[in-house]
Amino acid sequence: MGKLYDLLLQDIRFEEGLNACMNCGVCTAICPAAEFYKYDPREIVDTIQTKDEEKTEALLKSETIWYCGQCMSCKTRCPRGNTPALVIMALRTLSQKLGYFTDSEKGRQQFAIKRTVGENILKYGYCVPTYAVDPKMHPEQGPIWEHIFNNIDDVMDRLGGNLKKKGSGALREIHQKNLDELDKIFEVTGGYKLYGEIENYSEKKAGEMGLEFKKEGIDNEYFRHVYTCNSDNHGK
């Protein structure tokens, strides 16, 4: 019995997600990630249930655990009531706690997510408000999005929004007292601790990789690197 397995067991999602796997493959058969990546949720669950310390550590440091798209289709299907996607979440959480996530290209991306969505949540009270989805970082959103982004006040007004204003309505300003409560929740539930771990391990990795790192924002080499780097070595 491995220590890592014990740590995983502390995650309620791990307990919910892993019963016993009989390797039938229904999860992999409909897994969107299995179709495009070198990814097989069945194998991951099978590896984990061996409780082998070395193999678990290798997984925590691997690209593999970052391929899942969290669609949860595996939960609908498993004849043993497992949910590989929940097992993945527990693995990812542990990988971040232990700092193993910076060992992989896909894992390092957690820093980019923290600096974008993570900051949005606390700053605005939204994960992805219109004004934070910059067309420069989202060229795939096309010309309409650029138009909306550039004319956000008029567009939101026409569509009945309440952009950055007091009161209710779409994209209203979230009142400071509510942001303060959110802040407290992050403090009490370890939300900040997790952010801090992602930051610290990322800074360390940036140093090892010789990339510029800044304490805030997205204008630094390390952010740009993890946000765009694709070794193209992930597909089948």
């Binding site: 390797n23 493959g25 229904v26 999860c27 058969a29 409909i30 004849p79 043993r80």
Partner: protein, 350 residues
């Protein structure tokens, strides 16, 4: 006048047991809910593992009934059972009362209702059928066509439909589907020699005499393909073919295959009648709903109610061969009980 035994259910178990009980001198009454005896066997044309005809078995059983005096009450429905001292009083819907010194429950199984595996599309996609439906197609003896009317060139068999599946609350293995899949694949291949046939399985459980040989023969002689992976979902194409999504787990690759006909190998569930009788008699059931004997090794066929015995597929999935064996074993137990042999009182030491 011999003691009276009532056999509930006139399938293989009920028929064989009543013949044997009658031969031992008991007065036997079979209560059959249908208008004919034979149960599910009437719907099965050819049997594994030796491909003999199903109706040969039915006539064997019927011949037994002719030789022995067995009273059969057809279309009977039991409305109540009362225990009075050492015997039972069975009341039928028509108010008729029957006294029994012993009861043999032989209420059998129901086929798993494939509609419940919603993602396989049975009842929604025309060309998805069950192993039971396929037997009926075999029985018609015509040219094999899919329900949408084409000659199938590629056919998929799905193992474990309704078995080994927490999602439908059936954790057990139904024992007979693997070999049925092999048997039906061979039959189809014989009828459509240029068809490609794929069996999708999790484990090939070919445990009984000649099963493994049949599996081997299906591969060597018939060219049936076996892919280790459970069907995740089936979808219909625009021309009504069926797309299968599985993982070929031996090569760790998701696999998509389009077939003209999909056959779901449906498993066994405790029959509705089994559940009803269990309730009327307060019989112990397993989590699966099959009847539970007093001891799995030493007291099979013996229920928790004195004088009530059971045999056949009401106690769990089993093939015809074991159903016969189990029926005869139950007869021995009933005989011991009615003759009050000392053997009855053997105890387990622990």
């Amino acid at each position: 006048m011999g003691k009276k035994v009532v056999v509930i259910g006139g399938g293989i178990t009920g028929m064989e047991a009543s013949v044997q009980l009658s031969a031992l001198g008991y007065s036997v009454t079979v209560l059959e809910k249908e208008s004919q005896l034979g149960g599910h066997l009437n719907d099965w044309t050819v049997l594994f593992p030796n491909l003999r005809k199903g109706n040969e078995i039915v006539s064997f059983l019927e011949h037994g009934l002719e030789l022995q005096e067995v009273n059969v009450i057809y279309n009977s429905k039991i409305s109540g059972i009362k225990k009075i001292n050492k015997h039972y009083e069975i009341v039928l819907d028509n108010q008729k009362q029957i006294i029994a010194d012993a009861i043999l429950v032989a209420t059998g199984f129901d086929l798993f209702d494939a509609h419940r595996k919603e993602e396989f599309g049975y009842g929604i996609y025309e060309n998805v059928i069950t192993s039971y439906d396929l037997e009926k197609i075999f029985a018609e003896k015509g040219e094999i066509k899919t329900p949408s009317g084409i000659n199938p060139k590629r056919i998929g068999f799905i193992h474990c439909v309704g078995s080994r599946d927490e999602k439908v609350n059936n954790h057990y293995c139904s024992n007979v589907c693997c070999v049925t899949g092999v048997k039906q694949a061979m039959e189809l291949k014989t009828l459509i020699p240029d068809a490609e046939i794929f069996n999708f399985y999790m484990d090939m459980r070919m445990f009984d005499t000649h099963f493994e040989e049949l599996y081997l023969e299906s591969q060597k002689k018939y060219g049936i393909n076996f892919i280790r992976g459970r069907l995740s979902e089936a979808n219909e194409t625009i021309d009504k073919r069926i797309i299968l999504k599985v993982e070929d787990t031996l090569t760790s690759r998701p696999l998509k295959m389009t077939v003209d006909l999909l056959v779901l190998l449906v498993g066994m569930e405790p029959s509705k009648g089994t559940k009803e009788i269990a309730k009327l008699l307060n019989l112990k059931m397993r989590e699966s709903g099959f009847l539970k004997p007093e001891d799995d090794h030493t007291l099979s066929n013996v229920s928790n109610m004195p004088g009530v015995f059971f045999a056949g597929t009401c106690s769990g999935p089993m093939s015809i061969k074991y159903t016969f064996t189990d029926a005869r074993a139950a007869v021995t137990k009933i005989n011991c009980y009615l003759k009050e042999y000392e053997l009855q009182h053997r105890i387990l030491l622990n």
